[in-house]
């Protein structure tokens, strides 16, 4: 029994379902003074984006948007490596897919300008440019919760000229060459789901917390914004490129940031800049990949219920893997996914299987259960760094009648 407990999680089914009451993390309050922002789920009860501005998505819609994001990431990487991307050549992916948005479920609130105006931004490690909608919305702005930022009412805003170095850096940060209008640099960014933002490239004071202020922060002041940003005022780009907030604050925070995502949509997490909040229990793996935007890791093995899956290391080496705060479901090479699903099913055989949920094909009907015993899943990163995935990260529930293994296959091992 002891051995079995070692390799299994026992959890209450209700812990996988959303709650209607916000239960903020105490940890966030303690960290607020150390360059920390609160992270909330856009559709959860801790979000202040109300129903009028945020249309709640169905699980199917979330997963469809997630696939758009993954397709976009693949298209960008294929372009940079010169690989032919079969999917990217289809009409569903724009030829110049600049970046990714997908479902963008997590948001943080920052202050912009002088006096500072509070803005809720989508928190995204998979893109670089930070932008927000700006008055006068010359072409189009979607509904957002907070008042739209008005640069004319800030004493610290300035436009960036077309000849500035930072203007030319937009090419790699957005995937699109900048434009020029009356000597002001114009950015344009389009996401995998066809959402986009176009506007003036500007510089402004960014207030993370009362003690953490970034002067002269380069950002997009959007005049034409359309898409699935659902009530958020814009996006906070945490990628690797030179215009990301991580690179722009390198002198202050040394390119170190950390976060906890809320384990349930009714709780809160945090996003902290700098190393002061980083604990000692962290296990590191080497950052890999030549991409200027994405954070690449090296996956070497997966264990299920204490047993290492029989997957050749070359399967992982062929495709590589990236970590992304904006992608909901982990994609694996189909050979690896097949082994994972098979092992998971074998150890879950006492529970009845049910129909697939969009891209998730290993689903269970747990209507008649209050608790469920699931095998532990761990991933082994390069450098022998073993990380056990929390039970909330193993299953994705669409109600108790459809609880699915939260992994999906790519189309091909070479993807």
């Amino acid at each position: 029994e002891g051995e079995e407990a070692h390799h299994y999680h026992t959890l209450q089914l209700t812990s996988l379902l959303p709650s209607s009451v916000c239960n903020p993390s105490a940890l966030v309050g303690n960290k607020r003074s150390r360059g920390s922002l609160e992270v909330v789920h856009k559709h959860g009860p801790c979000s202040t984006l109300n129903e009028d501005t945020v249309k709640s998505l169905t699980v199917e819609e979330i997963l469809t948007n997630d696939q758009s994001r993954v397709d976009s990431i693949r298209a960008r990487l294929a372009t940079k490596t010169g690989k032919k991307d079969i999917l990217g050549s289809k009409a569903t992916i724009p030829a110049k897919s600049g970046s990714t948005i997908g479902s963008g479920n997590y948001i943080v609130t920052v202050g912009l300008g002088t006096p500072a105006k509070q803005l809720s931004l989508i928190f995204d490690t998979g893109s670089d440019l930070t932008w927000t909608q700006c008055e006068p919305c010359a072409r189009s702005c979607y509904d957002q919760k907070e008042p739209i930022f008005a640069p004319s009412k800030s004493t610290t805003y300035s436009n960036i000229s077309c000849t500035a170095t930072q203007c030319s850096e937009l090419t790699s940060a957005t995937g699109n060459d900048p434009g020029c209008s009356a000597s002001t640099c114009v950015y344009g960014i389009q996401y995998g789901d066809q959402s986009f933002s176009v506007g003036f490239f500007g510089k402004e004071k960014l207030t993370l917390t009362s003690k953490d202020v970034v002067n002269g922060f380069f950002f997009g002041c959007g005049q034409n914004n359309q898409g699935l940003f659902g009530g958020a005022a814009g996006l906070l780009g945490l990628g690797r490129d030179r215009l990301s907030i991580v690179s722009q604050t390198a002198n202050k925070y040394r390119k170190v940031f950390s976060y906890c995502l809320p384990s349930r949509s009714s709780s809160t997490g945090y996003l902290t800049f700098g190393s002061s909040g980083v604990g000692r229990k962290v296990k590191y793996t080497r950052l890999s990949g030549s991409s200027r935007s994405f954070y690449g890791l090296t996956l070497t093995a997966i264990t299920v219920g204490g047993t290492k899956l029989p997957i050749s290391p070359t399967v992982f080496q062929t495709s590589g893997i990236i970590i992304d705060s904006g992608t909901v479901i982990t994609r694996l090479p189909p050979t690896a996914y097949s082994a994972l699903s098979k092992a998971f099913k074998a150890q879950m055989k006492k529970y009845p299987l049910t129909r697939s949920l969009s891209i998730l094909d290993t689903c269970y009907d747990l209507t008649n259960y209050q608790t469920v015993e699931i095998p532990k899943i761990s991933v082994l990163w390069g450098g022998n760094t073993l990380v056990e995935i929390a039970p909330q990260g193993i299953l994705y529930a669409n109600g108790v009648s459809q609880v699915c293994l939260a992994f999906a296959p790519n189309g091909d091992d070479s993807d």
């Binding site: 940890l27 040394r254 390119k255 950390s258 906890c260 793996t285 080497r286 954070y295 929390a390």
Partner: protein, 31 residues
């Protein structure tokens, strides 16, 4: 490309030390 998605990041503190060329994970760091 495989992508390590945000569902799997729940309950793990995730640390990006970009200058140091490493990414870290900490169990119990979100409690």
């Amino acid at each position: 490309i495989g992508i390590f998605g945000n569902v799997q990041q729940k309950s793990l503190a995730v640390v990006y030390d970009v200058a140091g060329g490493r990414v870290g994970f900490a169990q119990g760091g979100c409690a």
